[in-house]
Amino acid sequence: MRVLVTGASGFLGGAVARGLIAEGHEVTVLQRRPSGLPCREVRGDIVDASAVAEAMQGVEAVIHLAAKVAVTGARSEFTRINVTGTANVLESARMAGVARFVHVSSPSVAHAGSPLVGAGAGPANPITAHGSYSRTKAESELIALAADRPGFAVVAVRPHLVWGPGDEQLVGRIVARAHAGRLFLIDGGVALIDSTYIDNAVTALVSSMEHVHEPAVHGRAFVISNGQPRTVAELLSRMAVSAGAPAPTRSVPFRLAWLAGSGAELAWRVHPRGERAGDPPMTAFLAEQLATAHWFDQRETRRVLDWAPTVGVDEGFERLAAWYRSGASA
């Protein structure tokens, strides 16, 4: 199949493109930075209609991953990329006669902060979702699912906490903080959360693309995960230890973390640039994410997408440790 992958310079996007290429699909990638992938590449912003139209030429299926992923930042920038950009890619795909569209979303679009214990996917809700990222992703998911129609099958797939070798977004930051002795748990890290090993996220997205035209699939949202919830404490420890860093031992109470996070958000908002580069160490959203259970009932997802994870959590950590040991992270 001729497939366009947007956001292929990211951790998951790159892995999806490589997975598709390996399976013999004809892949085009679209992103701002060079991807280094052995395939047709269009460089540009998803808000740029002409770049998107160029990338869309001859494409049969789209896996749309490009998004602004951060825990702070100006709301307008999130809206521009996540909402306007998505609308742009959808419109362009439809004009180009694309038949299959996989919109990559986030479980946080349906998370209003209360514990999710073996939950279903739940509808995206831009009003109750917490933080600019989740809110704009919720909006974009609603737009994507609304675009589903005969001949243009759209599915929203929400991978939960993707990790693996080469992940700078999550693992990289945790490891860096652990090395610096600044990795701590919130409320002892007792909350159970789901996660998705990178290879499983790739196969789930490819499977979604293959099944998107089926009546049980298109027009709907699915959470994907390894289906092996673990405590936050265990996940953070394993990530740190895989990279040879110390496991976190200190814990702060949730209220304190939340307050600190709210304060940091405010500080970052007042001084969005300058000396404070990157994201703040803690945000209210992150505090909530690290202190509240969120894991999902995977039965329907697996049945409908005809997919199951192939790499278990334990094997994933072995691979992560091997990758760090090999020095590839340097």
Binding site: V190, L192, E234, S251, T292, A293
Partner: protein, 857 residues
Amino acid sequence: MTEPARFPPAGLPGLEPRWSRIIEAPDFTGTMRSWHLLDTHADPEPEQTAPTLTVLCVHGNPTWSYLWRNLLARAPRSMRIIAVDQLDMGFSERSGVHRRLADRVDDLDALTAVLGITGPVVTVAHDWGGPISLGWALRHREHLRGIVLLNTAVHQPVGSPAPSIIRVARSGPLLRLNTVRTDMFVRGTTRLSRSFLSARPMSKSVASAFASPYRSAARRAAIGDFVADIPLEAGHPSSATLDAIAGSIRDHADTPALLLWGPNDPVFSDRYLADFIDRLPHADVHRYERAAHLVIEDAPSLVTDLLGWLSSREGNDPAPEVRGDLTRAAPKTTSLLDALAQARDLRPQAIALAQMQARGTARLVTWEALGLRVTRLAAGLRARGIEPGDRVSVLVPPGADLIAVVYACWAIGASVVIADTGLGLAGIRRAIRGARPRHVIGVRAGLALARTLAIPGLRLSTASLQSIAAQGAEREAPELPDAETEAVVVFTSGATGPAKGVVYRHRQVAATVEVLREHYRLTESDALVAAFAPWAVLGPALGITSAIPAMDVTKPRTLTAGALSDAIAAVRGSVLWASPAALANVIATQGRLTAQQREAFTGVRLAMFAGAPVPRAALVEASELMPRAQIKTPYGMTEALPVADIELAGIPDVGIAEGVPVGHPVIGVELAVAVLDDEGRPSADLTLDPGVTGEIAVRAAHVRDRYDRLWATNRTASANPGWHRTGDVGHIDEAGCLWVEGRLSHVIVTSSGVLTPVGAEQRALTLPFVEQAALVGVGPRGAAAPVLIIVLAGAGRRGRSPLLDVDRTDELRQVTGVDLAAVLVRGGLPVDIRHNSKIDRTLLASWAERILAGAGG
């Protein structure tokens, strides 16, 4: 005020707008009135075939059709559920007319005529809806398929004042204030509701929904009228109608009836249930222990139970099958009193009973003395007013008095209610209240415990037994009961919910005696030392000398090695029955035995430890103490004991299969399993196939007759005629050995299949740092995440975090073979009082779920 019927506001929890209809019908005066009612077939689909059953639901005061919402929501399409709002109630018309009981029956009759209800009907009613529905039912006998009543009344039972709550509410000026001018009565009704599971009050949104039709004094007028219409005094305008309805209930003798009751109702307490049982002796009864007036709100399983009963009224409730060759020999019938009478004739001066006292002395009773005492007591108790068929609560600790009282009651044909202290004091009171004994016989503490219970008959102290027997000496012995007579009500341990009363008939107790005699080859040359409560009374029925050690038999951990040795020595005991907890203490105190005391143990040929799983190490120690004894652990339950047993030598190492082996079935017992499906539900059919995990079912002559006043429990447990579903899960291996894997309610249903807890727990216990372990599931059934909860061995120093460290968590994943989401550490695990060993995994699961939910959980 007058106001036509209207639709309920949108958004009431659980109420579907599509059910609501407004119907015009004439009332008792012939005036057209508008009714609001709920109807599952409000919008009949044309292609739909007519419903096979119509269910007419009548609410009481001050509720409305909302009460029945969950029944409407879950009824199959083949049933049409109609739930009316009575006139001037709920969202039906406010007519301003004071409607009396007879008027309301006429009103309902006219409405159902307009609705064109014909064909099979079952009435379902709550509170004062009860008499109205019964009045309606009497006029529609030809269509009536059943009557269902929830917490209601048709009559003030003799000698009982009206419920004081109603009396107060009705007293003159208070009436209008309570019921009409304020919403005290409306709000008070829902405030009494407590969920059976969570013990939490009703949610605010549901309570508000109940109050929603009664927001203003004007809309509440009929609530006051309703209360005023309760005919508490003679000459009340409605008393003739109520009496007529009450009197005619007996005409329903061939109408199936179901009584569903919340006993914690300050208005319609147990005595009203008893009144209905008296009028409808054929009725199915289910008492939801802990539920109150709004029993349908309090007991989550009520709607399921009710639908099950209704579907059997539809006549499509096929009996499940049993696969395999399951022919069975008819059980031998013997009387429980035969062996005693025989021993009295043949060995009058031999010792029947040795009740051990402190310091090794014994109270010895010969067969002659025991036989005489039982006969005289029976005649004396009969003279005092204990009738055949009466239930007698016996609050006497195991010993000579208990045995005399039990056999005397059996000789009369009275049934003994035995609530042991293993239930806890509150549990004993609940258990007795549920069994409704007519009389009580107790030691002083026992009578004190029963003081607040409504015991209509005798309250006899054990101190008076002598004079009762003397009285009986001058009378003829009562006629012996037949084998079908009820013999005993005993109680489950309450480890999985409130204790349930378990009823045995004479033939079933006699069958237990026969199984023990045959399976353990007991002969008159044996002597029994019984330190295990349920069997402590069976010695005389076996015709075997028995000794009861100096201990509190219901507190097994009070048995010392010395006291046990003294009991063995007193009767040259050859067979020992004890509980695992008693064994543990015997082992712990054996160091204090004298050489002579130790010697006594060598005479034991058979030692059995029953009631709960026994650690293998304890059995090994027991065999060292009793080198010549065969060491066995029987498996069974309050409902059937023994079912199977296993010898120490036959217990394989753990970890080779799922669960713990409990051995082969004893003589006369057949085993089968109801296979668990992917959702962890047991199949309707039973199978004998080895190796498949399912709910264990037992068939034997000594299985209980039924659960007491627990219709729905009986329906489940006796789903396969002749079989008892145990609620335990396990499998039968190729060699016919039964393995127990846990309780059905503790099965964990993950997205990748069903897990039973015991096997994984046993494997976890092989790691040196694990002292106790419990496997539970958190999250929704079907997608649950397995979590192990452990108590650390040794000093067991726990950190501040409930999480076990990652390395040892991994070790536990390896050894259990379960993909554990987490391992949590606790200082101890919650267990039942009676056995001190049955882990409450349900409680642990909700604890784990709360911890692992994190903030806001």
